[in-house]
């Protein structure tokens, strides 16, 4: 008998399970990675690289890869969050905010991507990508 078959005599003690409404920070970043790829017409390739943090946290790096520079990578920011997903601790070159919800995280990302520092970095990577 397969594990997922329940005999009439076994009572499931699980309540009705509902997926969380919020998306994880990694999923939000994956969407933004895809958006950057489209916007740069794949001259830059962004990826979300997952690894484990301290204790029961998840960590994800938002990497920008330049395929024409022998796959040179630049880590733009790192997020670390618990199983419950929020609050998320963000680490970038100039700030380390802690954001309590998905919306707060997206709002911060919008301003971070539009910042002079990020535009300078992405611009430099694009410029070098085009030269090859």
């Amino acid at each position: 008998m397969a594990d997922d078959e329940i005999t009439p005599t076994v009572e499931s003690l699980w309540p009705e399970l509902v997926e969380a409404e919020e998306r994880s920070p990694a999923d939000v970043l994956k969407e933004q990675a895809a958006a950057l790829n489209r916007q740069t017409k794949h001259l830059l390739r962004a990826r979300v690289y997952m690894h484990t943090g301290l204790g029961r946290t998840l960590k994800a790096d938002f990497d920008i890869i330049v395929p024409t520079l022998d796959d040179y990578t630049y880590t733009l920011l790192t997020v670390e969050y618990p199983v419950l997903m929020y609050p998320v601790q963000v680490t970038s070159a100039r700030s380390m905010p802690k954001l309590a919800t998905e919306q707060e995280f997206k709002d911060w990302l919008r301003s971070f991507f539009a910042s002079d520092e990020t535009r300078r970095i992405v611009g430099a990577l694009l410029s070098q990508a085009r030269r090859r």
Partner: protein
């Protein structure tokens, strides 16, 4: 970024004991032969603490014939510093670095140092010099104890090592040298634990290559900085910090160089030194780093044969 001189395509090779034409030394014939085949490259790492130290950097570079200059917390303009380094010659170049928080200058063509990865705290480069084995150069500046507790610092070390191992897999070799401001001492968790740098004080231990724990393989680093701690040296460390609490080391050795076992023989113990003067001027004042006139960190110089 200018390739200022087309003629300087040759890596630095002519150092004492390394020239193929040097006279027979007192070393036995095997060591002598090996030294003739392995040129030395001299590295400088200095955390400038955002101070305008162009003159001091240039003086050190020329006094010690530095081949690779690596600067952290450097707000100096790259072009101005390059101009200063090349004030009497055109030897120095700026390797390609799409985005980097470190400033690196080389006494060889910049395209011999290939960028592989950058992040706010880590830079990875492949150093491919003519007729020399490729090595991986990692430069880092890990978070400060002011903001991270020891466990968090250990976690950052583990993340950095994961990145290094990823690069070693891609490179297909483990000829790796790591240099920078670790913001940890050689005995701190992040330097010692197996998933961290796993950096040992003895060459004989590092020579084992790696160690297995719970079925997982953890390669060693060799840490020569253990030899530079304490009163045998002009400075007992590389960074001085004193505060009024119970646990104060006063001198710390935050600025370190580590090598994988494959490069241990190319890093003689006496080739690693912490500088306390520049052209006769002391970098210390009242026995501690003179952060008013120089930096709160002392410069680290080492020779690597490869």
């Amino acid at each position: 970024m200018a390739d200022t001189t087309a003629s300087k395509a040759v890596a630095p090779t002519e150092r004492e004991g390394s020239s193929p034409s040097s006279p027979t030394s007192t070393l036995n014939s095997d060591q002598s032969e090996e030294r003739r085949l392995r040129p030395k490259t001299r590295f400088l790492f200095w955390n400038l603490n955002r101070r305008p130290l162009t003159r001091a950097v240039c003086d050190i570079v020329h006094e010690h014939t530095i081949d690779v200059v690596i600067l952290a917390e450097c707000d100096l303009s790259t072009s101005n510093l390059l101009g200063a380094l090349n004030s009497n010659s055109s030897e120095f170049h700026v390797p390609t670095a799409p985005v980097s928080c470190f400033k690196i200058f080389t006494r060889f063509r910049g395209d011999f140092m290939r960028p592989r990865h950058d992040s706010p705290r880590l830079a990875i480069r492949r150093l491919v010099l003519p007729a020399r084995e490729e090595i991986t150069l990692v430069v880092l500046h890990l978070p400060s104890k002011l903001y991270f507790d020891p466990d968090s610092q250990m976690c950052e070390a583990i993340v950095a090592v994961d990145k290094i191992r990823e690069e070693e897999t891609e490179a297909g070799h483990d000829r790796t040298v790591v240099v920078g401001d670790f913001n940890m001492n050689p005995f701190d968790k992040g330097l010692v634990v197996a998933p961290g740098f796993h950096a040992v004080m003895a060459r004989s231990i590092a020579a084992r290559g790696s160690r297995q724990i719970q079925g997982r393989e953890y390669p060693f680093f060799y840490n020569p900085m253990w030899n530079l701690i304490g009163d045998r040296h002009p400075a007992a460390g590389t960074y001085y910090y004193e505060r009024a609490d119970h646990m104060t080391l006063f001198w710390n050795t935050f600025d370190q160089v580590l090598v994988r076992p494959a490069l241990v023989r190319g890093l003689p113990v006496d080739s690693v030194r912490v500088l306390t003067t520049v052209k006769g001027d002391p970098l210390l004042r009242k026995g501690v780093p003179d952060k008013k006139n120089f930096s709160d960190h002392l410069p680290l110089v080492f020779d690597l044969e490869f």
